[in-house]
Symmetry: C2
Subunit: 359 residues, 2 copies
Amino acid sequence: MTAILTETVELNLDAYRAQVEAHLEAFLRKKAHAATSQHLPTLTVESVCTFIRAGGKRLRPILCACGWHAAGGGPEAANVVAVGAALEMFHAFALIHDDVMDRSATRRGQPTVHRRLAAEFARTHPRAEAEQLGTSAAILIGDLALAWSDELLHTAGLPAGRLASSLSLIDEMRTEVMYGQYLDLASSVCADLDLPLTVIRYKTAKYTIERPLQLGAAIAGADQRLLENLSGFALPLGEAFQLRDDILGIFGDPSETGKSRLDDLREGKHTVLIALALAGADDRQETQLRAVLGNTVITDADAEQARVILNETGATAKVEQLIEERYRQAISALEALALPAPAAQALRALARAAATRRS
Amino acid sequence: MTAILTETVELNLDAYRAQVEAHLEAFLRKKAHAATSQHLPTLTVESVCTFIRAGGKRLRPILCACGWHAAGGGPEAANVVAVGAALEMFHAFALIHDDVMDRSATRRGQPTVHRRLAAEFARTHPRAEAEQLGTSAAILIGDLALAWSDELLHTAGLPAGRLASSLSLIDEMRTEVMYGQYLDLASSVCADLDLPLTVIRYKTAKYTIERPLQLGAAIAGADQRLLENLSGFALPLGEAFQLRDDILGIFGDPSETGKSRLDDLREGKHTVLIALALAGADDRQETQLRAVLGNTVITDADAEQARVILNETGATAKVEQLIEERYRQAISALEALALPAPAAQALRALARAAATRRS
């Protein structure tokens, strides 16, 4: 697993992460047991289990714990662990469906759920049918993970008032991330910056940073004012996080990121980085770049040529600058918040890691 | 819209259905307004809206209202309407994803969501890409409907204790229907009856009848004993309902059912009807039937030949007998329950309609 925090912080977030993982394991063990005893298909539970065990930064649970401490929640209660587990299960759902929609072959260094299941079905079915079954099964397994993420939240043992405010934040978060995904899907690559900025706001900044942080604060009893103030830190940080992701998707080291660095180009992902490159490209550069984007059979040499264009047009440097600006904005907002010291320290470290990470 | 009840019952279920539909409309209007004001894609909301307006029996909300009355809930409160709307929104999710997985072209007499969206994308994209985008968009729109079904439940205004018991039933229901779907997907056509019976138990009997009925009862404050007793009525009725569906899928009148009567054969759906036909078929009949099942290019003449085999092998008559047995079992269980008279009358009428319906 890839850790998001490399420096030591006063809050023991490693211990929290381990508790979230143990909670997920226990939940899935119970599901596996129930499926076995009712003669229901256990491959569904196993698929979710394999996916979750394959890694991930557990960024959303960690932000939830930080939100809890930011609102003065004291030592993490069992329900903060359960809510973190619910966020991670939701993320499993989102990625499983994302991989189906993007037709991705690998995730977290392993075959994606639909690919793994297609291979399983290929033992007993013709290839084309096995592919289709793998996709259908992955849609269902994603649906199951979404339903289970709710169940984790419902069974977190939150007091009624806190459950109500959590459910309302979760409802917002889910609608937002799905709108972000839809916008991303329905848009075409162009030099316009507004669209990819809206996509990263909904698909990442709100989903990955703002809502998990607010959720943790809400279950510690934060008032509306603190929730709103946390957004001032979370949204620019979330944007910085995604802008870094866009750079890593093309320039990253696959042994560190666990993802191919051809996928974003192959999918023709509509990132800020690409929009800036198209905006700054001359005719030759634009033609070359467009020939690579969304081309499913690109080679390493094509990708290298695209990287050269991203650098030559100044797009890479400009994105680095956008990351730096947003990182500073997040840190200023954080300082102004005057949170309890351990929470502020953890969020500062997280912000630095999110903006400068290599994986 | 197709009504499930053709006889007049003392409970005004038509008025309740209209309230559920009005609640869904108001919810979606708010979503459309929010999307417009945030410059988010409104096609998502419109797709859900079009899908829901296209019809459906509203069977799950109606069962929820019956459950409420069965537990002595008095005139329907606003929250029974909201919970009914949540069930209908969940059903929209289930059908949208089901149609993607089955690659169905029509639903409720209209193009399926993925087909409608593929046609939309085809205005600006090459055909193959438009198809893929339509499928991805339908997956996302289904996800959104699932999240919105939760939101409808969370905002139903249920008292804390009742919300907790509802969420627990909803969690059960969702896991069950997804297991049922998965089993259905992963299994192959054969003469074994156990598998299709398990599928209809999870995919239909529990999802369509048992859980909605229990949910209504739970929000009226039913105890565990009543919830369990309602299952004795709901499960056989749910099986009868699905067995009737299997017959209608092949023998029904498309102008009444809104579905092609070739689809079930074309998909090679693993129904009890087909399992019984294979069990009773001689070599010639089996060969002919297997040539039709799962054959995507079958003609009306092929389907007619399959119908003859289903009749000759006695499978159709046997399924009619299974429906009759289950209907009687449900009615006996209902009599033994001694529910308030209006609820008992409505459930009796529902049972008769579910077992004998033509659409």
